[in-house]
Symmetry: C2
């Protein structure tokens, strides 16, 4: 059962569920056909490869995956990464782009399945959402730019923003007016449909379903309209670039020839592509799981996506994943189980076997417009602003990810973001926040003397340490604590409040022992308070605790109460810091 | 002044300080001569290179360094890393070992100076002490093994423990008895001197100084004795391997020919060697600084060590650093300022110019014995045991560092250790400890219900989160919190105690917003308590706080007091968990 979630689905499958899945499948199919053609083109592949990647992967995911809302298939960001990998390998010149795409899909499938079997789904947790956000924004910009050539009808090259802009400026004079008029019109129609329907539907009393459905169906409608225009007008004489001949048959069954050297070349791109694809997929799947109170297993999802990619490579397709936009549609259209993917796959098979010839005259400009309209929605300015306002360090991280992705490519971009976010975290934790604390009058609560109006006793210093203590902050702790304590001659007791210390590793223990030694030397007694259970478990048998010149107290209040008994005469003169009790401080 | 600390030293220099420095310099010189010869041999270089590396580096460090106790020069671990780098480059066969050593020294000097100028001394904080400990132990074992060939008088090859053991077993039959007798005797004498003097000195009423001095002088004494034996006995006929001709002159002034390809080959080894050397140096220097209440500046130390390495490369020497054993001797012998290094350098110059010829007959076995005796002291079994008892994760880290260093070489070993320690930290912080808390009776203090006898109210759940919240634990937090709260139908209020949360990054904020949304959906009010100032500063303007369905409370006690008012009737029946008030829990 564990590895075949479909068995659980089938056992509980009912007629109503089937109906819901079927309706969702129809909606998704209408989006999937133009998108799959477009994303194949974006990857630098013949558009038919997109269709090949939209049948078996959906079926394979249904068998192994657990999300009822995820719509698997070619997606924009993964297509962009595929295009980057093809570009890199192309410089060697030995392999066809289709061969590279198929190998990427099979490698990606293998990597995802291995990660799933070894339960390594947790790895994605180490990718900060600021990095993901930045990467998606940059990818959207790169994708939109890369498609301009089809809309302008010019030749344009380059794998980063700089190269593309230079190429655009160089070739702009070659603008092909008929292509531009067609592509521009389609793009404008696609872009204004959503705001227009939203604006007019209340006035025209459109039911909600139509309000949602129209913007989603519009790419498919534009595909049909432009094909009709190409077929039944004289526009065909103007040399507008078309998709061209799509051979009969649903897909090319490929027996992957395991090409060692190609595997080696593609292993890093495939790994990055797998992780990015998985992050996109799991974040959308878990969002819907939370909404429907259902459960998805990250490791089953890895296996499901891995199987989908193996399916894609078997049918001669490109890497796939669970895409954001189609999944949203799938969810809103009422999809309940992964079986809706199977229905979509059937619809595509039928449509494609019957109407393959019809797609031949589809202008590439239509697909390019569909891509641009889709990715523009990924750029979330509000989110950017919110991150800027909330955390400058997160914003910087995102900005660097965006810039590196734009100017040094997708693989460098995502890797830089991941590595940098980890270093930023390490750096932040290497200088822990420490506060000298005093008692909030009338309570047993202790807070920072600089932010609150609190009472302190000159002979006793209370210091709250706000970080897990580990090797990277061990030296800082040592220096800072000694500095804080030794600058005041009156101090006889130092109480370290450990309420914020979730662990003390061996390096930090060594530092604490040194601090204890140094404080003992200058006649100060060291106490600990509010040490958490798991930390105390470790500390109990150490020399620090065995030979501590002070005590370990359950609460900071108890520590101060006990120690202050002999300084009671001072209590009247205790310092009160000039701040207020506002909990926001 | 900032970059020339020697000016400060000279301004305050007094006669007594000079006397102290001079006495320390004599002691250090006596150790330095055999050690510098031995470590050059360990690095696979002609022994004279060790002497070349013991003059200019000491002078240069005195100008730029800040530690009054650090004894700079060739040290065992850095010599081992030099030998590994030479071994790697040797396979290319184009460069002499001396050329590689000089290039390493100059590269290492450049790297250290750049790190110092950019104030990157903090980088060493990211090396866990467990990793350093493991690396030193493994290096000691590798070094001791590599010297066996000189004591046994056999040919032995290999750069890791496995290769060396295989080679030892293969060649053991070629054992050269005279060498073995000589080397073995010297080794035994060296190993037993320290325990013997310690044992006999109270009985013979030896003054403390002699008790300390004898074990340190014994390597130099053995050097002299074995040279005398070689010169004035017929043992010379037995083909014992000797150091051989050392050319006149103090050092070869080298004008480094900047060899691009050699620089490229050696940049990684040089960087690792610089960092390891700096860690050894800074840890011993800061230990003495703490003891003497003086200050050392990590960034000045980087520049000082960098200058020392530049000095070494200029005089045709090998990479140097501040070594542990000689620095301890220097400190105990009373050295006060870096000028003691200048005096050592002068002594070595005088001794070497006068007695170079005398060293010619020195058996390599004597040096090998000196190395083995020195590095055995680095293996600290007590420390190993202490780490095992304190923290299994630190121990595993150390063990992996030891094994990888032993079997895959020093560079792989130290890199693996560093990377692994960072990943282990990230992994540990990715699953934060959370505790359901209740009120310790009679206090305003709240502790884990599983460890303490505390009072709770069924309608209110208090959860203490014990970790900085960031991208790697954001998803875990989301799942775990929802799980904890939703499994109990009675709960109406959830109070998250943020006493252990030192930061919330943008990813974690998103998760908190989702948790808030989910809890609102199931009718639970979310509160926060004891949010630290810096965290509150960030949270204040977020949607989470603006739209929070509950409140933010100064202390957890206040939160519970306020909320429990309406549940007062329950208070009598509140759960009391069966544990006790022991603060050790």
């Amino acid at each position: 059962m564990k590895y075949f979630p479909i068995l659980n689905t089938l056992r509980a499958y009912r007629l109503e569920t089937g109906r819901d899945d079927l309706i969702a499948a129809i909606t998704v199919t209408i989006m999937l056909i133009p998108q799959s053609l477009a994303y194949a083109m974006l990857a630098g592949l013949p558009p038919k490869i997109g269709l090949y990647s939209s049948i078996l992967p959906l079926m394979f995911y249904a068998v192994f995956g657990t999300s009822g809302s995820l719509a698997v298939g070619p997606v924009a960001v993964v297509a962009l990464m595929t295009s980057a990998a093809i570009g890199e390998v192309a410089s060697i010149g030995q392999y066809s782009s289709v061969e590279v795409a198929i190998t990427l899909a099979s490698l990606s499938g293998i990597i995802l399945i291995i990660m799933g079997l070894f339960r390594m789904g947790f790895i994605v947790n180490f990718i900060s959402r600021s990095v993901t956000e930045g990467f998606i924004i940059a990818s959207a910009i790169l994708i939109a730019f890369s498609q301009l050539k089809h809309i302008l009808g010019i030749k344009m090259t380059g794998h980063n923003l700089y190269e593309m802009v230079v190429s655009l400026v160089t070739h702009i004079t070659e603008l092909h007016l008929p292509t531009f008029l067609l592509g521009g019109t389609v793009l404008i129609v696609l872009l204004i449909t959503k705001p227009l329907t939203r604006y007019f539907s209340p006035k025209l009393n459109l039911i909600n379903k139509w309000q949602d459905f129209l913007p989603r169906a519009i790419p498919a409608i534009m595909v049909i309209i432009t094909i009709l225009i190409m077929n039944f007008s004289n526009i065909g004489n103007y040399n507008i670039d078309i998709v061209g001949l799509i051979p009969n048959g649903i897909f090319d069954i490929q027996l992957i020839s395991f090409n060692d050297s190609l595997f080696e070349l593609l292993i890093i791109p495939a790994a990055l592509l797998s992780i990015v694809g998985y992050v996109e997929s799991i974040s959308v799947a878990s969002r819907f799981a939370a909404k429907t109170r259902t459960h998805i297993d990250p490791n089953n999802e890895l296996i499901g996506l891995g199987a989908a990619n193996i399916g894609s490579s078997l049918s001669g397709g490109m890497p796939v994943t669970g895409g954001f936009s189609r999944s949203v549609v799938n969810f809103n259209a009422g999809s309940k189980t992964p079986l809706s993917g199977v229905y979509s796959a059937c619809f595509i098979t039928i449509l494609v076997s019957g109407f393959m010839g019809f797609l031949e005259q589809l202008p590439k400009a239509t697909l390019a417009a569909a891509i641009i309209a889709a990715v523009i929605g990924l750029i979330d300015i509000k989110k950017l602003k919110a991150i800027w306002e909330y955390s400058k360090s997160d914003f910087i991280l995102m900005l660097i990810t965006i810039l590196v992705t734009l100017f040094f490519g997708v693989e460098t971009g995502i890797s830089t973001g991941i590595i940098l976010s980890i270093f930023m975290y390490l750096y932040l934790t290497s200088k822990p926040h420490m506060a000298i604390i005093g008692q909030v009058p009338g309570t047993e609560h202790f807070r920072n003397v600089l932010r609150h109006e609190v009472q302190t006793i000159p002979e006793i210093i209370g210091i709250r340490i706000d970080e897990r203590l580990y090797f990277a902050n061990a030296s800082y702790l040592e220096q800072e604590l000694f500095h804080l304590v030794s600058k005041n001659q009156l101090i006889e007791h130092c109480i370290l409040m450990f309420s914020g210390v979730s662990d003390v590793d061996a390096s930090a223990l060594e530092s604490l022992e040194k601090i204890h030694e140094q404080l003992t030397d200058i006649g100060i007694t060291l106490h600990l308070s509010e040490v958490k259970g798991p930390v105390m478990d470790k500390l109990r048998s150490t020399n620090l605790v065995k030979h501590l010149n002070g005590h370990i107290h359950l609460s900071h209040f108890q520590a101060v109460k006990e120690l202050s008994a002999k300084y009671d005469s001072h209590k009247a003169e205790s310092d009160v810091y000039e701040t207020n009790l506002n909990p926001f401080k």
